[in-house]
Subunit: 796 residues, 2 copies
């Protein structure tokens, strides 16, 4: 249904898509001319013409010109409809099954691959109508052909009004990531559009505009008509113009090859990569990305796979880390592009201190509304999760210091979880306990205390809570539950008293810390999943117990009398900060992961998926009580934090659209297919009641359980929302330094080399002994199934 389609790139075959600025602008004439002249100039090569969708009587079909006037050019039409109407009308009316966009793309790729195997040559793919003319299934040309990413030739409109049409068509292609390399149009002497357009495209886009004579008026007599056309195609001016365009396309094809081949080497020499030991990074280890669409990157094949001129240069790579956990609505989603462009066109960036604009306000309202947390009342914008958690902790520490009367010299720490990660700026690093990530960094100084915690795993088919040795002495070890839902049913577990041992442990630990004279100013945790610290699913009851214990125990943080606050929306004990940068916005299946815990934080930080995966933006939401602490007559009492691009309109507008779209997907049951794959079946609901409605993942339950039974190589598995985490057994080195998961990563990275749609693989990341794979919120069940098969095969 949405099989990946590798972009059309071979060394041997130059593939170009021909788009029209309008219908009837001469697309077929221009394409036929290009084919004919290509065949003349590259005599030893093959030239082909592909019309994916054609409407109208067969003898008038577009490849008639090819057959008639471009001898020796191969031609093919994939879908032909006799009715002379737009494909979205002709296809359903034909009585034949209507091909989906993906079907058409697969056949286009098939044909191109077949041609590429024939040796050097040219392939021109002619689209139908204008750039937004409908496809048979009702999408548009411009949207449908994006994944092929063949360089485009735009046939301009030489008629009255054609200047506007040509520029508008160009823009619609350009904002979809097409590389329009040439504009070709008739030299209408009355309107002279070509003159204006030559200047315009040169000045604004550096794209050459070539004009050719107008074809002869159609004669009544078919033979005379054909003779006139033959003379036209053979005319000197036409041939020279086409030769010029072809020369350019040929050069660009070679340049694109060279550029792609050299990018990794250049990068290895001049890029300083984030979080990467570059001494071990060879150019061949660097993945060259040509583009990305939906769930897939288009990546350059490894050097070993691109030695032959006819092997596919590009393959589809499933973006299995969701590009560092950012992707939600698919790469290059046209709606997000348009939202970004709208805000760029309306505002650019405008300063935010003391100013307000609609996207920033609408996004703030939308987030506060969707969080459904009566404590949250204010939104502070920054640029990424790291800055956003620093802002959160600045807020929390100040609130605690003011309420408890600590002076400015008093050192304050935070309470967190072991392995917690909040970013790489120094303040965010200081929130994390010393570990491999930070221990060598100058200026890093862990400020706080980090709790051990019980984790959740499916092991040998059973869902259990794993209690490590540090916790083990005081707690029940390795309890097993009927389902993940049962573990997440924190209220039922509280009714059974399971939280008590947690609360006791936490209270005792806090009392011991207080005895040592340590002072704490906030709690900061990632709800449900400790992400970068090892993809650990934390027992939700433990996090809930932590919040409850802190809130009911101000005496554990201050020696002064500190009654519980009167307003239930006010913080108590310590301000509770949830870092939902990774866990929020449906990554784990819900708008907010705090809802799994059934607690409302006082401050909540959101980034990554906030923009659907397009741009950096962060929102730190806070309670009014904490905000008020920063009031006063003195500016120096305010939260003196800000970034130049705070609340940049482009980011806010994109986020607004993303949040709207994600929420409406939830409302419309967009993930029901996943829920029904073992997680929330109607049978189960009847049997087990509430618990089974609590959790779901885009990964089928039986797959998760099956994996977990490979106990000789797998220590445990969990899946929640879009995330699948496979904890690989490593009996030698544990944790971050383990290489155990890399074999599995490398195996899925092999992927498949052929089949419909061309080569594809899965690009994913490991964290020590954990391999994780993440879908976007748009990933379909079929795609998941393909990955499931690949993972299972890689394990056998």
């Amino acid at each position: 249904m949405d099989a990946p389609v590798a972009s059309l790139l071979w060394r041997s075959l130059r593939v170009h898509q021909v788009f029209g600025a309008n219908t009837e602008v001469g697309k077929t004439v221009c394409t036929s001319l290009l084919c004919k002249v290509a065949k003349n100039l590259w005599r030893d090569e093959q030239v082909s013409f592909l019309k994916p969708v054609s409407t109208g009587p067969l003898n008038e079909a577009d490849d008639y010109h090819i057959r008639r006037f471009a001898a020796g050019v191969a031609h093919k039409t994939l879908f032909q409809y006799d009715i002379p109407a737009s494909p979205h009308i002709a296809a359903p009316a034909s009585g034949k099954p209507v091909p989906l966009d993906n079907d058409i793309l697969l056949q286009c790729r098939d044909y191109a691959a077949e041609r590429a195997a024939q040796g050097k040559g040219w392939l021109f793919l002619e689209t139908a109508g204008g750039v937004h003319s409908p496809s048979p299934s009702g999408s548009t040309q411009g949207n449908m052909y994006i994944p092929l990413r063949a360089p485009a030739v735009l046939v301009g409109d030489s008629r009255l009004g054609g200047i506007s049409q040509t520029i508008a068509a160009f823009e619609s292609l350009h904002i979809r990531g097409y590389d329009v390399e040439a504009v070709l149009l008739f030299r209408d002497t009355k309107y002279q559009n070509y003159l204006f357009l030559m200047d315009y495209f040169e000045k604004h886009h550096g794209v050459p505009v070539t004009s050719i004579p107008e074809p002869p008026a159609r004669a009544d007599d078919a033979e005379r008509d054909a003779d006139a056309m033959a003379a036209y195609y053979g005319g000197e001016e036409c041939e020279a113009a086409a030769a010029q365009v072809l020369d350019l396309l040929d050069r660009h094809h070679a340049e694109r090859m060279d550029s792609m081949e050299s990018l990794a080497t250049q990068a290895q020499q001049h890029i300083w990569y984030p979080f990467t030991q570059q001494a071990c990074l060879k150019p061949e280890d660097i993945i060259t990305l040509d583009s990305a669409h939906g769930d897939y990157f288009q990546t350059l094949a490894r050097p070993s796979a691109r030695t032959e001129p006819d092997t596919a240069m590009l393959r589809s790579s499933f973006d299995g880390s969701a590009s560092w956990w950012t992707q939600g609505l698919g790469h290059a989603n046209p709606r997000l592009t348009l939202a970004a462009a709208y805000a760029a066109g309306r505002y650019g960036h405008v300063m935010f201190a003391g100013c307000i604009h609609k996207p920033a306000m609408a996004l703030a309202s939308s987030l506060l509304d969707a969080m459904d947390n009566p404590r949250l009342h204010r939104v502070f914008y920054s640029d990424n999760g790291s800055t956003g958690t620093e802002v959160a902790v600045k807020m929390g520490l100040r609130a605690a210091r003011m309420r408890y009367g600590w002076d400015a010299q008093q050192k304050l720490g935070i309470l967190g979880l072991k392995g917690g990660y909040h970013g790489d700026t120094i303040g965010a690093m200081d929130m994390a306990e010393p570990c491999a990530f930070n221990e060598k960094t100058e200026w890093y100084e862990g400020k706080g205390y980090w709790f051990d915690y019980p984790t959740v795993l499916c092991r040998d088919g059973d869902w259990c809570i794993v209690v490590n040795d540090n916790l083990g002495e005081v707690m029940t070890k390795g309890r097993t539950y009927g389902s993940l839902g049962d573990i997440f049913d924190v209220q039922a577990r509280e009714r059974r008293g399971e939280h008590r041992q947690y609360e006791e442990y936490i209270a005792q630990t806090l009392a011991a810390l207080q005895k040592k004279g340590l002072k704490f100013g906030s709690v900061i945790i990632e709800p449900i999943v400790v992400g970068a610290g090892g993809m650990e699913l934390v027992d939700p009851l433990f996090q809930r117990a932590l919040v409850h214990t802190v809130r009911k125990s101000p005496h554990l943080f201050t020696s002064s009398a500190s009654p519980l606050p009167k307003d239930a929306r006010d913080w108590s004990g310590l301000p509770i900060i949830f870092d939902e940068v990774f866990t929020g916005l449906y990554r784990l299946g819900r708008f907010t992961s705090s809802s799994y815990l059934g607690v409302h934080p006082d401050i909540s930080v959101h980034a990554k998926l906030l923009t659907g995966g397009l741009l950096p933006l962060c929102a730190t939401l806070s309670s009014e009580h904490i905000f008020n602490v920063f009031g006063g007559q003195d500016k120096s009492d305010a939260l003196l934090h800000g970034h130049s691009y705070t609340a940049h309109p482009v980011g806010c507008q994109v986020a607004l659209e993303s949040v709207r779209q994600l929420r409406s997907m939830e409302k419309n049951g967009a993930w029901d297919w996943a829920k029904s794959r073992g997680w929330q079946t109607s049978d189960m609901e009847e049997e087990a009641g509430r618990a089974n409605e609590l959790v779901w993942a885009s990964w089928p339950l039986d797959f998760v359980e099956r994996l977990s039974r490979q106990t000789h190589r797998i220590a445990g598995v969990w899946a929640l929302g879009s995330v699948l985490a496979i904890h690989v057994r490593d009996d030698t080195i544990a944790g971050y330094k383990s290489n155990a998961a890399q074999h599995l990563r490398d195996a899925v990275a092999q992927g498949r080399s052929g089949g419909a749609g061309g080569p594809w693989n899965v690009h994913c990341r490991v964290l020590g002994n954990v391999l994780y794979v993440m879908t976007s919120q748009m990933t379909t069940g079929e795609t998941v199934q393909q990955i499931v098969r690949l993972v299972e095969e890689s394990l056998t």
Copy 2:
């Protein structure tokens, strides 16, 4: 030439622009129908029709339909050309002076203001041709009318191919920030475009598509033709459709008013502002931004100015802080929008660790090339200046620690300048000395030593170097120079030995710090201007002396024998970091401000203007020697820093376009007009030689010197590149807490209330007693002149 034009918004008058998806799609018929029905339904109101530019014989002109079929509707054509051709051909051929876009906009606004004064009503402004049809001077409709920002009605194309035309036209308007509120088109029964478009626009844009019957075919007989048209306009279906559209426009107009009126109140309740004491912030202090274009915001008039229904709701506000120093290529620059949209459409965001894509590599190459600094070899991307300086200091400290063999426990500081500012994340704050910005922030701990320094000011017409008391004992006080260029001629000054007292002072200070046992790991300074710390122009010779002294004195930082490095590109003494977030990329007139100092830093940080002022992005450039320190077999030796959106393609593509454009402006002498205003006259060059070629500002030299002579209220002035800084005298409180500059800020914020183009003012920011005004790199001499007049009047 480019007078500001306030957007068309009055409570009394609903103004709409009518665009066509193509030429001859029925724009005039649709507009006439809207006019006619508006007049029928709102009987007590005025309805007007404005055709800014019309071509073709007068009796066929577009307002013929209004005159003939819409009785009681006022109509006007501003520029009429008899030649039936596109305005870019007809206007020059007419023999009359060709109006510039700005002339047309000013007249449009004039007419609209005149109508608004007549009481409640409607005004429809009909554009010419399609959305990209050329204007008389050769720009396009869509680009020309942006500043008016009236909600748009798009007349769709009902003909064959019209689906594509209508969608493409919509997108071209949308990405320019137009709000297309309705699509109106003929109900062609053959192609039925309206059916597809209704679904498409509803689903993708939430915009309603309304269809009306096709007008009667044109009859030969003029009278019969007119009768048929009259019957058409009066037809029930036409009237009902128009009424529906008008009702929607009317509702949106009211909603826009309400939304704009309430934004500030909502913001005051729910936004947590950066760097703002909100206890003092009332809703009426918050500026509501409707849009921004070029150098101007469009801001909602203050409540006191919008009590009358016929007063202009919006005014043009010159963005005098360049939106926190970010703007370079004008707000909403269509080229940057297209660059952003292209990358969004090609990639969205793709992960960067271990991957490479073209925009990131091309930008890195372009920056390394433009810096022309043989030391710089690597680019590390992050999201803003604060993260970028943290990255820089992490790089520098590690390099120093490894070379000098300090262990991980050794506390390392940085060397900087007093008042230096590098961002608000904790690590960036720690680079700054304790001050009002940071002293109350928990976890802040200033780590380093910060030098006093001599500053440059024009005082009473003289350019002098001001030496404050801390430095005064060892240095010559208050030396005066013939020009700013003489001060910047650091080589001539070195030949005269002026640097010696600086170098001695610096060396002595460093020796004293070493004696105290303090260890330093890097130097970080903002070259030339200390920005947020008070807009101080630092004597460039002092910064040069600082770098030279550090570089030749490794012994001042380590007790171990440490010879100077063999490779001249290697760091020596300490790694030198230049924070060019504010000072770089032509803000101070040059690509890099390090070139004023004639020194090459080892690490250089760039943000703000990097994207031309559109999006957050930062690049930290470093030497290969420092990069190599992070090599090794162990991942934990690497620079373990990264952000999810590292090197996001949208930011990189926009930055690539910005850097390209800024560099080509320099090359093409885009700022020659400014240079010639007293800074670099040919006379001067002959007289004073090299010095006078060194500096220039967009602010005229005589204006700067004139201001500086107002010694009773002004302590001194400087201008360099796009920046003008006015140090206001405050004999009571000095520095950041002073209110002295606020009076001047408030005076220029008053601006002018009327005149062609509507009300305008200057929005600028103060830093304590300093008022600064900044142009973008696109600001014209005329605009500067207007601001100069306003500032001078505000001071009298």
